[in-house]
Subunit: 355 residues, 2 copies
DNA sequence: CTGAAAGCGCTAACAT
DNA sequence: ATGTTAGCGCTTTCAG
């Protein structure tokens, strides 16, 4: 049986399509009497609005795209999980895309090629946008970028203060008495500006403590995953003068590094202390648990959605703004060991949520 | 500047809209000459088809929904990651939804209420569909269900042989000489049929080995996450006669259980051996690494997409079929310890992919 | 092989 | 407050 259309409802209710539309969308005021009639008809024919037709008529898709490098990276899936509910509250469906580490794919998405009209705006967690990529962005695409502003100020950015968070993480290690603190995750090339912010914080902590930076302890990695972390750590362990602590640019890197340290027969944190970044759930269960920088993911998610919705609504794109969500340092076993610490020790009865 | 429409292109090229449409979609054959003309016009006005209009005219959305209980559960995010590429190859966008553990939400999605027309079909990883929920399903919704068939045979199901895989996992533990093998993750109620298949395999392994099943060692959990795993494990550890091995119904459960065992001061696998299910990447990096049942996720993903696409294409829904993807048991440290084993020991130079 | 034109189902002027 | 109707931009039947 064909789906009932607005006209069918109108006919059954003995009113015009316009009135039915009004009732369905709650636009203009409608007499209580007609409303009742219409609603009865609505039920009678089991009317379900055709979203496709509505979208075409309204000239918008009612969808927003969320683009992340990898869907199976816990930080991103946790973020996505947090983005969907507020998006839905604003009436948007979420279209998820992964760039799969492919910059070309990323550029294609932001230039909107064939899939224009399919989403009204985009929340992008850039893999790496170099200055010159920005020009490829469809200027009419409402866009919110996840992560700190690195290049220009045209778009909205939502993230945490990476430099400060990284400084705090490094300072935490130095405060524990460690003197050879390594860093894993630098990306010293144009698309790695986000990673470079972390490195800047790392340097700042050293400067604050009056400590020199051993440049050879800053290990670059192409991504922020487990394999990169363990590979870099192995490299560090092979040296004659291995570090006694490592600031890892993601929890995944820290987890990979942890595995390498343990495989090497050393202990964490006794021999080498490790701190990560992101506060993914996995780090609350690993052995040892991973100290980390915990960004307020819920705040990032809701803020990003709100900014995007606003951008979509306003005809003229407002000035790009910069939102800094909160973050905090959580000391767990990988730096302070198994003390009975307020934040971390042992396995909590209830696992604290990141948000 | 307004986006160029098909008509604009037609005018510039001096042909009709029909012809432009033909060129764009590669439908009917078009003279080389006109084709050239049209293509030049296409570029000249920078034409991008309006997907919304196309969808309305075609009467389909070009989108499929993939519904999972939780987006941030590694098994699901890894599966989603694998589903998107084949879906895109078939010309579909993927709309991701999470039910958040809410059966009501799940029912709403399968009955397609307000969001009908938004997706042409659905791949559903059911939270728990009881017999009576099936009637709520929109009969016209092309649907592929992830996981083994538990109830009726109307829909396509794609999964692995849960009973056999669970039997093998349990047999692996028994083969290691363990005699008190517990199971964490049973769900002895109508919506837990999937979990019950695992329990059936667990029982079968015992029967095969001529071992009695100690019913008190089968611990139910509401979900398959880390917290459930550690909670259940603590319960087991508090007993006078704790188990010497545990078959966990997911890797996450195993990871949670692992944490509890270590917190209790016991060793894995020396004191208690642990095996999980799903083969998520995390289990290849944990300490110790987690033995597991590895489903062929890539096969599950591509098969599910293919079946769904076929269902969408055929007017009359074919008989529901049952696809069983491959799986294999991977023995890692949590059962066999740190032997130099072909599959598992140490940290591989390259982390094997699940697919 | 190409043109003309009728929808797809809804929205939103415009009119009453 | 409600009716009339012209689009939204594309697909596709029907002619030619």
């Amino acid at each position: 049986m064909r789906d009932a259309t607005l006209r069918d409802v109108a006919r059954v209710a003995g009113v015009s399509a316009r009135t039915v539309s009004n009732v369905v969308n709650g636009y203009a005021r409608v007499t209580e009497h007609t409303r009742q009639k219409v609603e009865r008809a609505l039920l009678e024919v089991n009317y379900r609005p055709n979203v496709l037709a509505r979208n075409l008529a309204r000239g918008r898709s009612g969808q927003i795209a969320v683009v992340v490098p990898y869907l199976d990276t816990p930080y991103f899936s946790e973020l996505l999980q947090a983005i969907i509910p507020p998006a839905r509250e604003h009436g948007y469906n979420v279209l998820i895309d992964q760039t799969d580490g492919d910059p070309a794919h990323e550029r294609e998405l932001i230039s909107r090629g064939a899939r224009a009209f399919l989403f009204d705006g985009m929340i992008l967690s850039p893999l790496g946008l170099a200055q010159e990529d920005l020009v490829e962005i469809d200027p009419d695409l409402p866009l919110v970028i996840l992560g700190e502003r690195v290049s220009n100020g045209v778009f909205d950015h939502v993230g945490i203060d990476d430099v400060e968070a990284s400084r705090a993480a490094t300072a935490h290690l130095i405060g524990l008495g460690r003197r050879r603190v390594a860093a894993i995750g630098d990306q010293p090339y144009p698309t790695g500006e986000a990673a470079q912010l972390r490195t800047r914080g790392y340097r700042r902590a050293h400067a604050d403590a009056g400590l020199p930076v051993d440049e050879s302890l800053i290990i670059p990695t192409p991504r922020f995953n487990r394999a990169d972390g363990s590979g870099a750590m192995r490299e560090l362990l092979a040296r004659e003068d291995p570090p006694d602590a490592v600031f890892c640019y993601s929890d995944l890197v820290a987890l990979g590094a942890l595995r390498a340290v343990l495989d090497h027969g050393l202990r964490v944190p006794e021999d080498i202390a490790l701190i990560g970044y992101d506060d993914i759930e996995e780090g609350r269960y690993s052995n040892p648990t991973i100290s980390t920088i915990s960004p307020d993911k819920a705040a990032i998610a809701t803020t990003a959605v709100e900014r995007l919705v606003r951008r979509i609504a306003s005809a003229e794109p407002p000035q790009g703004i910069e939102v800094r969500a909160d973050h905090r340092l959580i000391a767990r076993e990988s730096t302070v060991g198994r003390t009975v610490d307020e934040n971390s020790a042992g396995l909590p009865e209830k696992v604290p949520d990141a948000d």
